[in-house]
């Protein structure tokens, strides 16, 4: 395996991870912005305002957690893929 090929595979993995990370951040931001609209109304209603605020916080926490998981899994997968690529490159001349 030529060093350039290894660098390109690494680059593709890195780019995929960048796209996943950046994409998830952008979508999470948009989702939070969209979700905030009904909560803004609900929180002003007497009687359910406080409950709505609690639900909003819970939902935001869960949503952030899901996107964080996506980014973490993506990062770990990218790191693992890079290790595998290096290992394949290291072993290939010996075969």
């Amino acid at each position: 395996v030529e060093p350039q090929t290894v660098r390109q595979v690494e680059g593709a993995v890195e780019l995929l991870n960048d796209a996943t990370t950046g994409g998830s951040r952008a979508i999470a931001g948009a989702q939070a912005e969209i979700a905030a609209v009904p909560y803004t109304v609900l929180k002003r209603l007497p009687g359910i305002g406080r409950v709505a605020a609690v639900i909003e916080r819970s939902q935001a926490t869960i949503t952030r957690g899901v996107y964080w998981s996506v980014r973490t899994i993506s990062g770990i997968s990218a790191a693992a893929a890079t290790v595998v690529v290096h290992e394949i490159a290291r072993r290939t001349p010996e075969q």
Partner: protein, 321 residues
């Protein structure tokens, strides 16, 4: 293609997919050392000559862009794949060099780098170079103009040897498609909606190379500017007109997507990608401007009629406008 779309990002991140500018021969980087050049052009390859031709591809392409099969006579076997460089080697006696580069980088960056690359070729070349022919397709033409500009500023010796500069479908005044992308981004970001903002942000991620195509920007921002982000406001220093290399002959080649250049589709869309590319330029006499109706943008880099025109121009003696 990736380099064309996000090449500046890849370069800034040190990503292994980013292409480094170099001359390529048979898919490999051509090292600019005297012995390497002699070995690369040893028989059976065509020998090195004192006339050099540099071919620069456009956005999202590489040196394979130039390959095509010339037409064969009726009854003859199909011609082997060739390209303008190899054909010019046979017909005009020049030695072709094919550039591959990261088309997502700013045109000015690529121009400076190309100037240095040709300078390295100039010094490593085993023979004294007497004449240089430059051929650029689309963005490649802008990169060539930028390279000549910066090389002139740096007093690089090779620029004096440039005799012919041929621009194939080069958007000197900007490309319609790039302007459409810019307008789309601005409209999407202006809509107060998180979804359209995401799409607008995505459009905004396109490379500086693509953004430079909006106005045919050849220069890097300087201390009088506020960076590339101000592209669109024609008052900025890096968007000032760049003089055409005065001692060289410049040739503009354009195409249209229909055989009739007066057809509404040809008038509106030009060659299908960058619009009309052969409008009148003061620095270029009319006889050095040629329109090929029915030849679309990419085909300008691999068309037999276009080649014959290039060959006749390159065979012409003399220099200057």
């Amino acid at each position: 293609m990736l380099n064309g779309m996000w090449g500046d990002y890849l370069q800034a991140r040190g990503n292994g997919l980013a292409v480094e500018m170099a001359f390529y021969r048979q898919g490999r980087v051509l090292k600019l050392r005297r012995d390497e050049l002699q070995a690369a052009f040893a028989p059976p390859a065509a020998p090195l000559t004192r006339k050099v031709c540099v071919l620069v591809h456009g956005l999202g392409c590489n040196e394979l862009l130039w390959q095509f099969a010339p037409p064969s006579a009726p009854g003859e076997a199909e011609q082997p794949t060739s390209d303008y460089g190899r054909l010019l080697a046979d017909d005009v006696g020049c030695t072709p060099f094919y550039v591959r580069y990261n088309t997502g980088e700013a045109v000015a960056h690529n121009g400076r780098t190309l100037g240095r690359l040709i300078d390295a070729l100039w010094h490593a070349y085993p023979l004294p170079i007497e004449e240089i022919i430059l051929i650029g397709h689309s963005m490649g033409g802008l990169v060539l103009r930028s390279a000549c500009h910066y090389a002139t500023q740096q007093n690089e010796p090779w620029v004096e040897a440039v005799r012919h500069v041929i621009y194939l479908g080069t958007p000197h005044d900007g490309a319609d498609l790039a302007r459409l992308a810019q307008t789309t981004e601005q409209v999407l970001l202006a809509i107060p909606n998180p979804i359209t903002k995401i799409v607008g942000d995505f459009f905004g991620l396109r490379s500086q190379g693509i953004k430079d195509l909006c106005h045919g920007t050849l220069l890097a921002p300087d201390v009088l500017d506020e960076g590339y982000a101000d592209v669109g406001d024609g008052t900025h220093h890096h968007q000032r007109p760049v003089p055409w290399l005065p001692h060289a002959r410049h040739y503009l080649v354009g195409g249209t997507i229909t055989g009739d250049p007066a057809h509404v589709a040809a008038v509106l869309l030009g060659d299908g990608l960058v619009g009309r590319t052969v409008s009148k330029v003061d620095a270029v006499p009319d006889e050095q401007i040629k329109l090929f109706p029915g030849v679309a943008h990419l085909q300008l880099a691999r068309n037999w009629d276009v080649y014959r025109q290039i060959a006749s121009w390159c065979a012409a003696k003399g220099a200057g406008r």
